[in-house]
């Protein structure tokens, strides 16, 4: 099914303004939800098969059911707009073009889960975009969509923005909560899961910005309509950020399940200079690299990319042409993970720096043959041995690159090793 209409980033001028949003049917989904029972709202989202757009593809409706129905403590929603995964730049487009649909999704989520305070956590570098979203939140407060006794329904909720300060790790949900609480962004050990003990020990749900922007569509048009967009097991519109060696880099809204090669050649206008494709990182820097010859029939959805040996991640597609020095790219990514490791777990704190050092030896043609296996050994000892997934995220690019591009490493050995 080809999607011609855009639902997350509609082609309507001035859509970020509340009057324009309302005159195009905005906030009708929230009004509709207020007329439903909260459980019915959650059920609708569950049946739509909406899966989180922040990287893990977890079913959103199911996540909402983890929240206790009754609680003597307050319940919280934390919306993840930390967006710091290299190759990812989609949520920024939502803040800019469609902030009210995000706000509406947050309100619907709060109503469904009985939440009275939502915090939207946005990376500090997005100062300009935080102001854009704040302006939209202020406008929604003025119109009575947020606050006490919303639209006379008896339901009340507040939405606050919380500005990050330059730490990739805060995109991990438990460090995001610590960051809101005024701590260093250290991930927490799970269990307990956030729905049991989240912000200030209270039940909390964390959802991605793009995920929440999908919610009003499901309520307006129904789960059946939504579940038929794109790939049946991972349906809906998805924002794909295409960067690197393409003629038209940018964010494209497509239904899930579009072939990667179509994204590269049709949507993003192909590779400059008609060069050949060498490799892609399909879903942000943490997802495993794929060789060009592995891409036949591979689509932008959870199952297809998993079968290909990678994952959707944040759908940040990084395209690399035949002349790309993959070792330099990998070394740069290793430097990134080393810089962003929070330092709590030894395998990650020490291993990420070690990976970078070894990769620098390849960059400078000073590596020995055994360094290739050393890379794998370090990566394997990080993977699965840390509190959060940053360790895995640092290990996977290295493991997949060695497996799929061993020749690139062999070309970078010191002359004496040949």
């Amino acid at each position: 099914m080809t999607q011609t209409e855009h639902y997350i980033l509609p082609d309507i001028p001035e859509y970020h303004r509340i009057d324009v949003y309302e005159s195009n049917g905005g906030y009708a989904a929230f009004r509709k939800a207020l007329g439903m029972k909260p459980d019915e709202v959650t059920d609708e989202v569950k049946k739509s098969n909406l899966r989180g757009r922040g990287g893990a593809c977890f079913p959103t409706g199911l996540k909402w059911t983890f929240m206790p129905k009754t609680s003597d403590k307050p319940k919280y929603l934390a919306v993840n707009g930390d967006e710091s995964e290299p190759g990812t730049f989609k949520d920024r487009q939502i803040f800019e073009q469609n902030p009210h649909q995000l706000i509406e999704g947050i309100l619907i989520g709060c109503y469904a889960m009985g939440i009275t305070v939502a915090y939207v956590y946005i990376r500090g570098e997005y100062g300009k975009w935080i102001k854009m979203l704040q302006a939209a939140v202020d406008a929604a407060y003025e119109k009575g969509y947020i606050g006490k006794n919303i639209l006379g329904s008896g339901f009340s909720t507040e939405i606050y923005l919380h500005k990050g300060a330059g730490a990739y790790i805060c995109g991990e949900e438990s460090s995001l909560m610590n960051s809101i609480e005024g701590e260093r962004g250290y991930p927490r050990i799970k269990p307990p899961f956030p729905a049991q003990r989240g912000l200030w020990g209270c039940p909390t749900t964390i959802n991605n910005v793009e995920t929440m922007t999908n919610v009003p569509l499901i309520i307006t048009k129904g789960w059946e309509w939504y579940s038929k967009i794109g790939n049946v097991k991972h349906p809906g519109p998805i924002l794909v950020g295409i960067s690197g060696h393409v003629n038209k880099p940018g964010v494209y809204e497509v239904p899930t399940g579009v072939p990667l090669l179509e994204l590269i050649h049709t949507y993003a206008g192909g590779i400059p200079g008609d060069k050949k494709l060498k490799a892609v990182i399909p879903g942000g820097s943490s997802t495993m690299i794929l060789r060009a010859d592995q891409l036949d029939g591979v689509c932008m959805d959870a199952d297809s990319l998993k079968a290909a040996g990678s994952s959707v991640g944040t759908a940040g597609l990084i395209v690399m042409d035949e002349e790309t020095d993959l070792i330099r790219i990998l070394s740069r990514l290793a430097k990134f993970y080393h810089h962003e490791s929070c330092g709590q777990c030894t395998p990650c704190r020490e291993g990420t720096g070690w990976l970078h050092k070894v990769l620098e030896r390849f960059e400078h043609h000073q590596a020995k043959t055994e360094d290739i296996d050393l890379l794998l050994d370090i990566a394997n000892n990080i993977e699965g041995n840390t509190i959060c997934a940053l360790g895995d995220a640092a290990a996977w690019p290295v493991q997949s690159m060695v497996r799929r591009f061993r020749g690139e490493f062999e070309k970078c050995l010191a002359p004496a090793s040949h």
Binding site: P74, E83, S84, E85, P86, G87, T88, F89, D91, R92, V117, R123, G124, E125, Y126, G127, K128, E158, Y160, H162, K163, G164, A165, G166, A167, Y168, S179, I180, E181, G182, E183, R184, G185, W200, G241, I242, S243, G244, H245, P249, G250, V251, I281, S285, G316, I318, M320, T324, R328, I329, R332, L333, F336, H339, E340, C342
Partner: protein
């Protein structure tokens, strides 16, 4: 030190959270907006305000890359060199910035006008290569364009 107006602002923001400590990041942002950086005195002042030991405030300031515990130059130039920018020529952009500003990455120019930093992904991969000057993003750059942008700054 934070001025009266900003102290009130922090008190107001504190009402958004059930615990005072949660106002720490917002308070640090307000301090940095006021002075461009966060001094030891200001950290202590914020700690007293929120009932936190200085060590905790310092620990948070040093954890987050964007908080400056030292003054910067008049203009803070951040050059992204992560994967998507590297693929589109950020090496040349960084060299040009360093040359025009007479400051290597991680340093401030002798005249105090520029601080140059090489940074991690800024979420502008579709407009790579990019730099940020303060809050403003400049995307789809070439070395010539960067030079033009920098030379125009007073």
């Amino acid at each position: 030190m934070l001025n009266e107006e900003n102290l009130k602002k922090i008190e107001e923001i504190g009402k958004r959270y059930p615990e005072a400590k949660a106002a720490l990041l917002p308070a640090l942002w307000i301090a940095q907006e006021q002075d461009g950086w966060i001094s030891e005195e200001t950290m202590k002042q914020i700690g007293d305000l929120l009932g936190l030991p200085y060590g905790h405030v310092l620990g948070v300031v040093t954890f987050y890359t964007m908080f400056n515990s030292k003054p910067l130059g008049t203009y803070h130039i951040e050059v992204c060199t992560n994967a998507s920018c590297q693929l589109r020529g950020s090496d040349k952009i960084l060299r040009k910035v360093e040359h025009v500003c007479s400051a290597g990455a991680g340093h401030t120019s002798p005249d105090g006008k520029w601080t140059v930093n090489e940074v991690e992904c800024m979420g502008a991969c579709g407009g790579a290569p990019m730099i940020a000057i303060g809050e403003e993003y400049y995307e789809n750059l070439t070395p010539d364009k960067v030079e033009e942008i920098l030379r125009k700054l007073p």
